[in-house]
Amino acid sequence: MIELSGIRKAFNQGRHNEYWALNGIDLTIPSQQVTAFFGPSGSGKTTLLTVVGCLARPTAGRVRLEDRDISGLPERFLTQIRRRTFGFIFQQFNLIRGMSALENVMLPAYPLGGEWRALKQRAEFLLDSLQLSHRRTARVEWLSGGEQQRVAIARALINDPKVLVADEPTANLDTALSKGFLDILETLAAEGRTVLLSSHDPMVIESSVVQRVVKLRDGRIVGDL
């Protein structure tokens, strides 16, 4: 379970262009649930996901993961939590250019050590389950948008995380690919993973896969369905 208490996040704090992206978020996210954060651009969806996923520290407030306060942990411990607990699927995919699909999928697991062959096998298994075996040696800049997203999904799953975080996953996809993503999401949810995603796409919000919709506006929660 993830608990957020009084979360506030500012950018450029103290400067003339100070901006408060989150203005007091109190939220409890149960495990094994698909939760979508819905709201217009600038409502704080992405910022909230980065705070929950330990990508950024809140300016104020606390984040508790399985009853453990993680918001004040040193960077090293936050990174370990991020590595083992969260898998990220970014809006722009954020794959490393110049590397193949297989190498990108294996990247998050390199610092953990372990046998390279076993890691490669697991990465190949994930790509195969997402129908990307035939493209595993292709450089990611040669892949289509849908293929890049599936590589991003495989990369997010390589360390078998409990929580998947997806930021605007269908923003760069057409309708058919968006539906394909939702099908993958359904499979991941059925495996018992907690899924957090942000979207302003009605197709995602109204999907049967999403069990809870939290509405955000101006950095505050304005609805919880």
Binding site: T79, F88, N94, P108
Partner: protein, 120 residues
């Protein structure tokens, strides 16, 4: 004026690595060895090319400057020699500073919240 820093692409790459679970130390270690490998390869290739140029091809590029343009053309064969102190000095003033110069910018990028790096 010497610019020592990271390109926007490199900073973004470090942000991505941090976001997917690499620790600051992992990033610094990887980038350090990357820089060391590049500079060491360049050093070795440069040294071998210089050695061949001087002792195999009689410094064909610099021969007129070294020997002059007088009427008498002295003939001498250069004796190949490898001076360990010279190699170490060249190494210290090329490979070492390059490798070290990359550490601070990488460290600064690696300790930043990955979110702020990826947002640009």
């Amino acid at each position: 004026m010497v610019y020592i820093g990271l390109s926007a692409d490199e900073k973004r790459e470090i942000g991505i690595l941090k976001a997917i679970g690499w620790e600051t130390g992992d990033v610094i270690r990887m980038k350090f060895w990357e820089g060391a490998l590049i500079s060491l390869t360049a050093f070795l290739l440069g040294y071998v090319a210089a050695y061949l140029h001087v002792f195999r091809f009689s410094s064909v590029l610099f021969e007129p400057v070294l020997k002059g343009w007088s009427v008498l053309y002295p003939q001498f064969e250069l004796v190949p020699v490898v001076d360990g102190v010279q190699i170490a000095t060249l190494f210290f003033f090329t490979v070492f500073p390059y490798a070290m110069a990359t550490i601070v910018p990488i460290w600064r990028a690696a300790i930043t919240d990955p979110d702020s790096i990826m947002r640009g």
